[in-house]
């Protein structure tokens, strides 16, 4: 069988299908469960410098083609999170700690304190005031946050980018200039839903982020733009729920993919995607490397 193991973004991964940030990543036990189910790596829930309870409910609404969420970055702060990371690392797969802050210094403070296999910088959550995409939509801020974490940490630094911008490539270039080991694209698209009985926005936070199949074409295009221009690898995320989606994302240039919303179907999704990918490579007599960025090489 063709190998699925890769080296991407400074990590050795047994397969390129990872658990995305914010999904079943609050506890070490659930990170381990994803690893046991076949994830090649796991990204934690984003952690910040102080405990947060997140937004009032509803925090999630199922809409056509996906999910709308506004969790609001609930987390116990990095001071209470090392034990969850350590428990997750006992699974044997790399644990990537997702972190957020409101300034380069706050990001660096968290990165200095936590031990993980890599960091993923949340510069893209679309529904938390003063955090996420509120910083991450400015290339100079992406550059300074990435630089600050690079200086503070001795593990690979991945930067998760927001699609809520006119030009995601600028953000990717900024991360690359500051020494990121990879960029991760995309986070959710800023969105909302309104209860037509009463006119209330359904999410407690009024607006949130759209994930799932509805955003996959946006993610594929973003990965294509980034991967064709950057030197550093791109991790593709956004609406992947089948091996076909993973193949498409890798053809757009992704070195690895992350799965989030599709976990609704259950933990079996990791094995299903990895197996489908492996069968595809075998049928086509291709390697992951052959597949990566194939779409750029197809020209009229």
């Amino acid at each position: 069988m063709p190998s699925l193991s890769i080296h991407a973004g400074g990590l050795d991964l047994a397969n390129p299908v990872l658990l995305a940030a914010g999904i079943l990543g609050t506890t070490g036990a659930s990170l381990c469960r994803a690893a046991r189910a076949g994830a090649g790596g796991v990204v934690t829930k984003s952690v910040g410098s102080t405990p947060r309870e997140g937004h009032p409910g509803p925090c999630i609404v199922a809409v056509q083609g996906g999910l709308l969420n506004a969790m609001g970055l609930p987390n116990p702060s990095y001071r209470h999170f090392q034990e969850e990371i350590d428990a997750g690392r006992s699974s044997g797969v790399p644990v990537i700690a997702s972190i957020f802050g409101s300034s380069p210094a706050e990001f660096a403070q968290i990165a200095r304190a936590l031990q993980a296999d890599a960091f993923e910088l949340n510069l893209s959550c679309p529904h938390a005031e003063k955090y996420g995409s509120e910083l991450g939509r400015y290339p100079d801020m992406v550059e300074s946050v990435t630089g600050a974490v690079k200086a503070a940490a001795d593990v690979p630094v991945w930067v998760k980018l927001t699609p809520n911008t006119a030009d995601i490539l600028e953000l990717g270039l900024a991360a690359q200039r500051a020494g990121a080991s990879a960029v991760v694209a995309i986070n959710t698209l800023k969105a909302m839903a309104i209860d037509i009985e009463t006119g209330y926005p359904i999410l407690g936070n009024r607006f949130g982020g759209l994930s799932g199949p509805a955003i996959k074409p946006v993610a594929v295009r973003s990965v294509y733009d980034l991967a064709s221009q950057l030197e550093i690898p791109v991790i593709g995320v956004g609406g992947i729920s089948s091996w076909e989606d993973a193949v498409e994302m890798i053809m757009a240039g992704a070195k690895a993919v992350q799965v989030g919303t599709a976990l609704q179907e259950g933990y079996g999704i990791f094995e299903k995607i990895a197996l489908g990918l492996q069968n595809y490579l075998e049928r086509k007599s291709m390697t992951l490397e052959d597949l990566c960025g194939l779409a750029w090489r197809r020209q009229h």
């Binding site: 999904i23 506890t27 659930s30 997140g54 999910l67 969790m71 609930p74 209470h80």
Partner: protein
């Protein structure tokens, strides 16, 4: 699924700070399942069914206080039924309830009785004024009541009533109440753990099995989706009764 709009048809006071809200629709829940109740402009909270079209709520915080301001004719949003619910097994069952946790057991007991099962109930309350659904349970079969302050029935916690029964006589035991009350029961009845189904509570945020806020250590069971009914043999091997994570995800003590 978007929240469904529902009108509250009737509000009944059951005890101090406990009310039953009957909704304008039967969501065909299984006993032990829950719904997410959206009190618009306030919050969305999980609530167990106390009947096919009703929930029984104890006022404990901001969202339930806002609900208690509502009367017949008010509207709420609903998501559900959610979770696994209880599974009826055998011919002879024992219900063990604590406080407002007795509510889903009354619903379960009525379903069991309708299917011809013999139902016995052990119910614990703080005091006489807190007793709910006594008539509903008495219509099902034998009932033993305990009160913490001794104002009615046997004095003590629900577990004080255990000596009234031989648990070997029952094919299945169903448990719902405050965590420490349930822990008290399951830790004293370990030999019956595999036939004890407990409806437990964790902090539910998404109620869709993806956010991870309700996961149980050490196996990561998603209580909102794979629970809230979990057999006691699995609870005995878990964090249950020792700690629980709150809204931030930080571990804290179990209360109640």
């Amino acid at each position: 699924m978007r929240p469904i709009n529902s009108i509250i048809e009737e509000v009944r006071s059951e005890a101090r700070l406990i009310r039953t809200f009957r909704l304008d629709r039967d969501l065909s829940p299984r006993p032990g399942q829950y719904l997410m109740l959206w009190i618009r402009g306030v919050d969305e909270i999980p609530m167990s069914f106390s009947g096919p079209d009703c929930i029984t709520v104890q006022s404990v915080g901001q969202a339930t206080e806002a609900l208690f301001e509502m009367g017949a004719g008010s509207s709420v949003g609903l998501r559900g039924p959610l979770g696994n619910g209880f599974t009826l097994k055998g011919d002879k069952i024992l219900l063990i309830g604590g406080g407002v946790g007795s509510a889903p057991l009354a619903f379960l007991g009525e379903r069991a009785r309708a299917s011809g099962l013999a139902v016995t109930s052990l119910l614990g309350f703080r005091s006489k004024e807190d007793i709910i659904f006594q008539e509903r349970f008495e219509a099902l079969g034998e009932v033993i009541i305990t009160t913490d302050d001794g104002s009615y029935g046997i004095a003590g916690r629900a577990s004080a009533g255990l000596k009234e029964f031989s648990l070997f006589d029952y094919d299945q035991i169903y448990l719902c109440g405050p965590e420490m009350m349930m822990w008290d029961v399951i830790s004293r009845t370990r030999e019956h753990a595999t036939k004890t189904q407990a409806c437990i509570n964790r902090y539910f945020k998404c109620a869709a099995g993806i956010c991870g806020s309700c996961c149980l250590d050490p196996d990561g069971t998603r209580v909102c989706l794979e629970g809230p009914v979990i057999t006691a043999d699995r609870l005995l091997e878990s964090e249950f009764g020792r700690y629980r994570r709150g809204p931030t995800g930080e571990k804290g003590p179990c209360r109640g």
